[in-house]
Symmetry: C2
Subunit: 732 residues, 2 copies
C-alpha cells in the first residue's frame, strides 16, 4: 500500500500507521477516500488536467473525479460539470480553475457536502483589496456550508501514506517528516536539501494565504499521525489573535514529538515582503522567538540548517544538558568545531587527567586529548576508534552529547580498508550503537558529506546524522539541547539556576592606589576631577574648601575592590563639619587608623558614566575598551574594543559599529558624547602606556559625562612589577 | 608555461604575471628555480619519495634534487646524501625526514646557503615542551645561517604559476585566489568548497606551527603577486607581539586587494584547541575582531560562507553603501532573502511609486513590486527580466547593490527555452553586463546552485556569483559592503554620522496620568511606592509628613514625556519647608498654576531599576517585556520578551535565557532579584490587562529593586479609547 521504504534508526515508534487512524477533520485532506479535481478540460491542457493525471499516476487508490464546466471526457473518464453532479460526495476537492470561477466552484462543493477544499489558484488577498474581499466572502460561504478551505495561493498537498501527490513536485522521497509550509518555494528548497540528509516526507501541505484553516491545525493533525516523527513548519504569519491558541496547541503536540520551525519575515523589510506575499503582517521577531520557545518549538534561524536540525531531531535522542565531548581527527576541524559548538550556546569542558590517560593508551603522545580530542589520523588504521574513544567521555554523567569528526569517506581515501578489514561504509553504523546504548546524541562531521556516499547514508540511517558542515552539526546539537530542555521543563525537572560568570582571575601585578592612579592619568593628559590626598580631618576640610562642595571622601585601602562594602566611600559631603565627621568615621574602619590616607575629590553629578580601559595583549600590544561604565559595566556590558593607534576616523568608525554606540549618542536631551574629545583622552592614555612598558593595565571607571565634558573620576593602574620607589601601592 | 585557464570577469587586472616579478624573499618559496626534497630513499617509499615524484609530475620546470642520507638513485636520478653535496644551492628545500633528523638536515641546508626551508614534519612544539625546544633551536640556527623556515607541522606549498605542488592534495584548480592557512584540514575543506563556486587558486601555503615566518609575510607576498586577486587567510594565532605589525602590513595589502579571513579558536575551549594544535595561545575574539576591522580585512565567521565571500570579492565591485534592491521570482525566497540581508546588517528600503509603476509595465498586477520584487514566475518566458528589472533600482544613486533570485536552472525546468530562444546558460551572463555598466555588485541565488550546472558556471565566470544559499548571498553582500566601507575610509570619504533610531511612533490611544496609572497597577496587586495626589502646598506638606521624608514631588502634566526637562520633578525633599517651596515652584511652570496637580511619593534609593511592560499584539494578545529600566532602558536595552500566561518555571527559564539575566542575578553584594516575586507582579499586571480589554499597554519604569523588595515607582497606562468618565487624562 505504501511507496515508503522504511527508514531504520527510529526506535521511538516502530509501527507506521499512516494518517488513516487519525481522528481529525484534516483526515479528509491527507487521507481522503475520494477526490474531485475542479478545472479539468476535455479540449485543453489546463492545470486541472495536470493534477488529474498526476494524482492518478502517483498510485492514489481512492476514487478521483474530474470536474470541468464544459464536461466531456479525459483519459477515458467523464468530466462532471459540477461537484454536485458527482456520483458521491468526495472527501476532498482540489480547485485549479481561474480566480473568477473559483468562488462558485468551491461554494458548490461546500453545498454538496464536501468537508475540505484546496484552492491552488492565486490572485486573492495577496493581490488586491478586491481579491481579499472575494477571498473573505468565499471562505465565509464555504464555512457556513460546512467546508474548510486550504489556501488560496498554495502549492497543494502530498501524502506518502495515501500515495497522493497534489503538488507541482514530481516526486517526494518517503520518510517520517511532516512538513507544513506557508511558501511553495521554500518547500522546494527544503525538499532538495532533504535529499542531502537522506530524509523523506510522510506528508506535506502548503497553506499560502491561510484564509481559513490556521497553520496549527495541520501541525496538530501531523502530531496525531504516527507515521510522522518530526514536524517541520515554515511560517510567515499566524492569523490575527491566533497566537495564544498556537502556543497552547503546539505545546501539546511538542510534548509528543519535535516541531522545527523557521520564521520568514522577521525584519521590517522582511515583514513587508511577507505582507505582500501572503497578505498579512508578521509580528515582531522577538515575539515569535518567545512564542516558539514557550510552545516548545525548536526554532532554526538559518534556512541552510533546517534539514540538519530536522535530521538530528528525527534520529537522535534529546540532549539533557549542554556539555559536549568532541572526539575526532584533524586539528583545524577540532578548532572550528569547538568554536561552532560554543557559539551555538553549548560548552566544551576540558577532560580530566583520567580521561586523558585513557586516550593516551590509544593515541600517540602528540595527539591533543583534552576536549577536543584529535586522533591525528589514526582512524585510518582502525575505523572503530571514533566509537571506542567517544565512549569514555559520554559514559560520564557530566557529558551530554558528542561531536565526532574527521576526513571520513571515499572522497579522502578511496577504497580504504582498515587493519580489521572495515570500510568507511561497514564502520559507519558503529557510533549509532553507542548513541543507543548511552541514550546521548552523537553527530558526525566530515567535509565530504556535502556529496553523496554510501557510507554517509549508512551512518545516517543507523541513527547518527552525518553532516558536511560544522555549523550544521552545532545547530543540530543546539536543537537537541533545546528539545531536551523543553522536555525537562514539561516534566518539571529543569533547575532554573545557572552558573554565574566568575570574575576573571587577576594575574600577578602591582596595583597603584586610586589616588596615584588618578594622578598618573591626569599627568598623562586625561581630564580628571580635582582630588587631594589627605591624612587628617583638618587636611580633609581644607581640601573640601579648596575643591568646593559637595565632595567625596574615599579611603585609600589596599586589597578592597569595592570600598563601599566597608563604608570606605562617603558621597555628598556639603560642609566642613560633614567632611571632618566622615574622616573620623573612616579612621574607625578595621585596619585603618587615625592617620588613614583618604582622597577628597569633587563630586560629579554624571549624566552618563563610561568605562575607558587599556590592557596589554601578548599579540596585539595595547588594546582599548570603551564601554558603559559605573556599576553597569558588568551586568549591562556594552563595549567597543580597538587597537591603537587609531586616527579619529577609525576611532569613530569603531565606536559607531559597536554595541556601545547608542549609549554615546544624544538621548534624553543630552548631547552626544564628544568623540573627538574621547579620542583625545584615549590617545593620551595610550601614549602614557607606551611610554611606560611596566604598565599592565589602566581602568578609568567611571569617566563621567556632564554636558559635553568628560572627566575621569576613578582610575586603577596595574604595573607588571613592583616599582623600586614611589607611593603606597599594594600587590593585587 | 601555466596550467591556469583564464577566468573571465576579472576586469581589475588584465595581465597575469605570476610570482616571478615579485621582489620578496618568499619568491624562493612560491617561485623557486630549484628545489631539493630531503627524505628520499632508494629502497623504500618514504613521504619524501612521494613529494619528489609529485613535484616533477605536476610540471615544475625548474630543477628538482633528491636528498637522502643513504644515497642511491630514484627514478633514474641521483639521491644526494646532503644538501651540501648538490651541484648548486637550491632556492628551496622541502624537509620530509623524521622529526629527529630534521634539525640537522635543515641546518645543513641553511649552511649551504639555501634561503627558505619547508618543514613538513610534525612532532615539534605542537607535541611537547621538548619538541618546542628543538623547534626553537632549529629555527634560531637556521636564521643565523640566513635561512627562513615554513612550518614545522604544515601541509606544504602550492603554486599554479610555478606548476609546483608540494602538498598532500592531488590537484588544485587554477584561479586567482592566494590562500594562507594555518591548518591543513581547513584548507582541504575550502579547496572542496571552491569547486562549488567555480573558484581556483594561484598559490597556497600551510604554515602550521608558524615557528619562524609570520603569517603576514605570506599575505604580503601574495599582495605583491599580480596573479592573485583575493587573499584568503585561515588563522588560529599570530606570533607574540606580532599584532601591530600584522594590522599595519595587512592594511597596506588591503588597500590594493581584498583579504578574507576566518579566525579559528575564538571561544575559550576553541583557544584550548588552538593551543594544543599549534602550540600558541589565541587572543580573545573581540581583539581579533578589532584587529581585522582596523586592518581592512573582511572577516567571515562561518566556515560555510568563506568561499562565497571570496567569490564575491573576486568577481564583484565593492559596495558603496548598504541599500540593497532585491529583484527576482518567488515569494518565500524574497521573504527569507530579505531577512538574511537585513540580519547581515544591510537595509532593503521600499521602492517609491515611480519604480513600482515601472515594474508594473512588466509584471502582472498581483506581483509584489515594493522591494523585494517578486516577478511571480514571469522569467520563464523572458530570461532577460532579471537584468531588465534590476536595472531600474540599481540606476538610482540610493541603491548600492542587488540580490536577484529565482528557481533558475535545469534542476527546475530542464531544457527551458524562453520566448526569445534564450536558455538558462545563454541568459546567465546578462546580469554581469549590468554590474559592470553600473559599477554596483549583483549576486544571484537559486536553490539549485548547490549542484553543478553550466548555467551557474557561466554566470559566475561572467562576474555575478551564483549561490545556492540565501545566507551565503547575504554574507557576500555584507563582505562587499565591508570592503567598500574600508576603501572609503582609506580615502577619507566615509561620514561617521549614523542615523539615530527614531522613537517608534506612538499610535492613537489615551494615556492615563501618572498618578492614575500607578493607582491602577497598585489596585491590580503590583507593589508600588506610596503616593498622594495633592493640589496645594498644604496638602503636599501633609502628604510628605504622612509618607516620611525624603519624598519626590512630581507635577501631573499632560503631554510631557520627560518632566525633568521642565523641572516638573523634584527629588530628595527632606522637610516640610522644602516640600512647600517645591510645590510653589511647580505652580510657576508655564501652563500650570497655583492649583496644579502633583504627586508626593516616597523616594526610593534603588539598587537596580527594572522595566516591566505589557502590550497588546494583534497575533499573540498580551506580551510582556522585562528589562533594564530607568534611563538606560533605551540606550542599554536588554530585555526578556514573553507571552503570558507563564508558570514560574517558564518565567524563570525565559529570564535566564535572555540578555537581561545578568542584570537580575546577584552582583556587587546585592542579592538576586526575587524571580518568584517578579513573576507575581507580572501575573498581577497581566490579570489587570485581561480584565480590561481597553488597556492597550502598561509600562512600569522604573520598578525599583531594594534588597529583595520590588516597588513600582512610575507607571504609564494607555487605553485604546477615551473612557467615558474618570480622572484627568490626556490624549497621547
Amino acid at each position: 500500500m505504501r511507496v515508503a521504504t522504511e527508514e531504520p534508526g527510529q526506535p521511538r515508534e516502530s509501527v507506521r500507521t499512516g494518517g488513516i487512524q487519525v481522528d481529525h477533520y484534516l483526515r479528509a485532506l491527507f487521507a481522503p477516500k475520494s477526490i474531485a479535481i475542479i478545472g479539468v478540460s476535455a479540449t485543453s491542457t489546463r492545470s486541472g488536467n495536470e493534477f488529474f493525471g498526476k494524482v492518478r499516476g502517483y498510485g492514489f487508490e481512492g476514487r478521483v473525479y474530474a470536474v470541468g464546466r464544459n464536461g466531456g471526457t479525459v483519459d477515458g473518464e467523464p468530466i462532471y460539470p459540477s461537484v454536485k453532479d458527482l456520483p458521491e460526495v468526495p472527501d476532498l476537492v482540489f480547485g485549479a480553475v481561474g480566480m473568477q470561477a473559483t468562488p462558485q466552484a468551491m461554494t458548490e462543493a461546500a453545498a454538496a457536502g464536501v468537508k475540505v477544499g484546496v484552492v491552488f489558484t492565486a490572485g486573492f488577498a495577496e493581490m488586491s483589496d478586491d481579491g481579499a474581499r472575494i477571498q473573505r466572502d468565499m471562505v465565509a460561504r464555504c464555512n457556513e456550508l460546512g467546508m474548510r478551505v486550504v489556501g488560496p495561493n498554495c502549492m497543494g498537498v502530498f501524502s506518502t501514506g495515501s500515495r497522493m501527490n497534489l503538488t507541482d513536485v514530481e516526486h517526494l522521497a518517503p520518510g517520517r517528516i511532516g512538513f507544513v509550509s506557508q511558501s511553495g518555494n521554500i518547500a522546494l528548497t527544503l525538499f532538495d536539501n532533504a535529499r542531502r540528509h537522506d530524509l523523506g516526507f510522510e506528508s506535506f501541505v502548503s497553506f499560502g494565504n491561510q484564509a481559513d484553516i490556521p497553520a496549527i491545525d495541520y501541525v496538530e493533525y501531523m502530531g496525531q499521525d504516527d507515521a510522522v516523527d518530526v514536524i517541520l513548519l515554515y511560517l510567515e504569519s499566524l492569523q490575527e489573535d491566533a497566537g495564544a491558541d498556537f502556543i497552547a496547541r503546539c505545546r501539546a503536540v511538542a510534548e509528543r514529538k519535535p516541531i522545527v520551525a523557521i520564521k520568514g519575515g522577521v525584519t521590517d523589510a522582511g515583514r513587508r515582503a511577507a505582507a505582500s506575499h501572503t497578505s498579512r503582517l508578521s509580528a515582531a521577531e522577538d515575539i515569535y522567538d518567545a512564542a516558539f520557545e514557550q510552545a516548545g518549538v525548536v526554532q532554526v534561524r538559518d534556512l541552510d540548517h533546517v534539514m540538519a536540525v530536522a535530521e538530528a531531531l528525527l534520529r537522535c535522542p534529546p540532549m539533557k544538558g549542554d556539555n559536549i565531548a568532541i572526539v575526532g581527527s584533524g586539528g583545524g576541524h577540532s578548532t572550528v568545531g569547538t568554536d561552532c559548538v560554543e557559539r551555538a550556546g553549548m560548552t566544551v569542558p576540558a577532560f580530566d587527567q583520567e580521561l586523558r590517560d585513557t586516550f593516551g593508551q590509544y593515541l600517540p603522545p602528540w595527539a591533543p586529548m583534552s576536549n577536543p580530542v584529535d586522533m591525528t589520523g589514526g582512524f585510518t588504521e582502525d575505523l572503530t576508534l571514533f566509537k571506542t574513544l567517544m565512549r569514555y567521555p559520554l559514559s560520564r554523567p557530566e557529558f551530554h552529547g558528542g561531536l565526532s569528526y574527521g576526513l571520513y569517506g571515499e572522497g579522502w581515501r578511496p577504497g580504504l580498508v582498515d587493519d580489521n578489514g572495515r570500510t568507511f561504509e561497514s564502520a559507519a553504523p558503529l557510533l549509532a550503537t553507542l548513541q543507543e546504548e548511552l541514550g546521548k546524541p552523537i553527530v558526525f562531521y566530515t567535509p565530504f558529506a556535502k556529496e553523496h556516499e554510501e557510507a554517509f547514508t549508512a551512518m545516517r540511517l543507523s541513527g547518527v546524522p552525518c553532516y558536511g558542515s560544522l555549523a550544521e552539526a552545532a545547530a543540530a546539537l543546539a536543537a537537541l539541547k533545546a528539545r531536551g530542555s523543553f522536555l525537562a521543563r514539561t516534566e518539571g525537572q529543569e533547575g532554573t539556576g545557572q552558573d554565574q560568570a566568575s570574575p576573571s582571575g587577576a594575574g600577578p601585578g602591582y596595583a597603584l592606589t586610586e589616588y596615584e592612579s588618578l594622578q598618573r592619568v591626569a599627568d598623562a593628559g586625561v581630564t580628571t576631577v580635582r582630588q587631594e590626598l589627605v591624612t587628617s580631618a583638618e587636611e580633609a576640610v581644607a581640601a573640601g574648601e579648596a575643591i568646593g562642595y559637595p565632595v567625596v571622601l574615599k579611603a585609600q585601602l589596599a586589597d578592597v575592590a569595592h570600598k563601599s562594602d566597608v563604608n570606605g566611600v562617603r558621597l555628598g559631603l556639603s560642609s566642613a563639619d560633614e567632611v571632618a565627621a566622615a574622616f573620623r568615621q573612616m579612621s574607625a574602619i578595621p585596619g585603618a587608623g587615625p592617620g588613614i590616607a583618604c582622597t577628597v575629590s569633587q563630586q560629579i553629578a554624571a549624566e552618563r558614566e563610561l568605562l575607558l580601559g587599556i590592557r596589554k595583549d601578548a599579540t596585539f600590544g595595547h588594546t582599548v575598551v570603551v564601554g558603559i561604565g559605573g556599576v553597569l559595566s558588568e551586568v549591562a556590558a556594552r563595549v567597543a574594543v580597538m587597537i591603537p593607534p587609531l586616527d579619529s576616523t577609525e576611532f569613530a568608525h569603531a565606536i559607531e559599529n559597536s554595541p556601545v554606540a547608542a549609549y554615546l549618542r544624544a538621548w534624553r536631551g543630552k548631547p552626544a558624547v564628544d568623540l573627538e574629545d574621547l579620542h583625545r583622552q584615549v590617545s593620551a592614555l595610550h601614549a602614557m602606556c607606551r611610554a611606560d612598558a611596566d604598565i599592565e593595565s589602566v581602568d578609568i571607571n567611571p569617566l563621567t559625562v556632564v554636558g559635553s565634558r568628560l572627566q575621569a573620576v576613578d582610575a586603577a593602574v596595574v604595573l607588571e612589577s613592583e616599582p623600586e620607589t614611589g607611593d603606597p601601592r599594594s600587590r593585587r
